[in-house]
């Protein structure tokens, strides 16, 4: 694909685009949180400090980079913070329907993974389903194609590095298996894609998939095919916005995977063969157009279970069959700044381990 793009480059140079000047631009967003779980002390966290850099080499060749510092501090081998290169790709814009992209890519799955600037979603933290079922922010190294095929339909298809099954877990599912393009194994590449419809004003609906083999770190090597399917929709009209998303992950050979991980680490990770999650959200701007800003309120219900179906002979950990109501409000003193507050009423199916409720306050901005 890259060769095809490069071979077409001389043609691009002949394009007449007299309003184009090669340019580099800086942008970014920040996320500052206060989290107070029930029966625990509150925490202040500068959760995300993100800088975006874009450069247009020509009207049809662009670079996009997104560098993120999480939790404000990074120390070697510590879990406290992360410095992540979430995006760094070159886009070769060939035509409306066919364009080539290569580098570090955001995977095109779900509502949040590609669209996660703080002012555009309700809630201080991202939805649980977009954290433990779809492991956003999910980015991997790879290459792919994207375009719009008309009548409001568009697509993305990427080949990327796969997940590492050795890092799967009972509570966070596939999340820790992301290789994040860091000297990543690509013995067997993963395939991901999304079809999206934006042909009706106010509506964005999409279906996504991810498929790959993830057992490359296991010894002896074990094939662990993983498949994710996802569907989502957003609809807004005037002050009202509705959102919904469903995602399911299937992990084949989960029993053998648990045995292999137990042999490697000494602990049986109790990984499920199916993970499932869904949420629905309604929001309404109760104040809009005032001199001092806008105010919106929202309610979201989430149900997510990282132990949805277990391998034969393995019992699920009921504390990881969870659901939550998230209720809150956002105040935008101006459209690129969001002051958020929400309360999470969390539950699980365990009779022993109780899920703590939580109060969250956040300040997020885009520039």
């Amino acid at each position: 694909m890259l060769a095809l793009a490069l071979s077409a480059a001389p043609t691009w140079a002949q394009d007449s685009d007299d309003d184009h000047q090669p340019s580099t631009r800086l942008s970014g967003y920040m996320d500052f949180h206060y989290n107070k779980p029930e029966r625990a002390d509150g925490r202040l966290d500068f959760h995300r400090f993100v800088l975006l850099v874009t450069h247009e080499f020509s009207p049809k060749i662009r670079f996009v980079g997104e560098l993120e510092l999480e939790h404000a501090f990074v120390e070697g081998l510590e879990e406290g913070g992360e410095l992540e290169l979430e995006q760094a790709y070159v886009d070769f814009l060939l035509s409306r329907g066919f364009n080539v992209r290569a580098g570090m890519l955001l995977l095109p799955i779900g509502i949040i993974n590609e669209r996660h600037e703080p002012p555009v979603y309700y809630g201080v933290e991202r939805p649980f389903v977009d954290t433990v079922i779809v492991p956003s922010t999910w980015f991997e190294a790879g290459a792919g194609v994207h375009g719009e095929v008309g009548r409001g339909w568009r697509y993305r298809v990427y080949v990327t590095t796969p997940l590492n099954a050795l890092e799967f877990s009972a509570d966070e599912g596939i999340r820790n298996g992301r290789q994040k393009g860091s000297d990543a194994n690509i013995g067997r590449a993963a395939l991901t894609g999304r079809a999206e419809y934006v042909g009706v004003r106010g509506l964005t609906a999409g279906v996504s998939f991810w498929t790959g083999k993830s057992g490359f770190e296991l010894r002896p090597r074990l094939d662990v095919p993983v498949h994710l399917i996802e569907a989502d929709a957003r609809y807004s009209r005037d002050r009202l916005e509705l959102r919904g998303q469903f995602a399911q992950v299937a992990i084949a050979h989960a029993a053998e995977l648990n045995d292999a991980v137990a042999r490697t680490t000494g602990i049986n990770p109790n990984i499920a063969r199916t993970l499932r999650g869904a949420y629905a959200e309604t929001s309404y701007r109760v104040v809009e157009g005032q001199r001092w800003g806008d105010v919106g309120v929202f309610a979201r219900y989430e149900n997510y279970d990282t132990q949805f179906r277990m391998p034969a002979g393995t019992a699920p950990i009921l504390a990881f069959d969870r659901d939550a109501w998230v209720l809150g409000a956002t105040y935008w003193p101006e459209p690129d700044i969001a002051v958020k507050v929400d309360y999470v009423v969390a539950r699980n199916q365990s009779g022993v381990v109780r899920a703590p409720n939580a109060l969250n306050v956040g300040l997020g901005w885009w520039f």
Binding site: V64, G202, T204
Partner: protein, 137 residues
């Protein structure tokens, strides 16, 4: 926690005072009507990371007026190679109109010309310019 919220509220209030009067909606561009040139007006909404609609069909020789508004942040609207490039105000700050009179049939790409987030590169659309009488009804 109370102190943090109080500080935050103070900062926001101070910032709002410093901004002065709220920006007024941008009035539509004033143009001199041309009786001989047909016009077509299309309202387009920009949001991260789509234009809706993203496909506009117009006959050759018709003056296309694209009335643009944003549902979130500042976006740009640039018709590539045609010298049209306007900045779309943030949500609630009014509209702006981009005017384009195509003289040749064909497909013209428009795109967001102001970085607006992680998916900025997906914000593109097409103006399909057709011979008069052949546009899709």
């Amino acid at each position: 926690m109370v102190m943090i919220l109080a500080l935050l509220a103070t900062a926001v209030a101070t910032a709002m005072r410093a901004q002065g009067p709220a920006p007024q909606p941008t009035p539509p561009e004033q143009t001199v009507p041309e009786q001989t040139v047909p016009e077509q007006t299309v309202e387009v909404t920009a949001e991260r990371f789509t234009f809706q609609p993203s496909e506009i069909t117009v006959p050759v020789g018709t003056t296309l007026k694209v009335v643009l508004k944003s549902d979130d942040t500042t976006h740009g609207f640039r018709i590539k190679g045609e010298g049209v490039n306007v900045q779309i105000p943030k949500r609630g700050r009014g509209t702006i109109t981009a005017t384009f009179t195509p003289t040749k049939a064909g497909k013209y790409t428009f795109e967001c010309s102001r970085i607006c987030g992680a998916g900025h590169g997906f914000m593109r659309g097409t103006i399909v310019v057709v011979e008069p009488g052949s546009e899709t009804k």
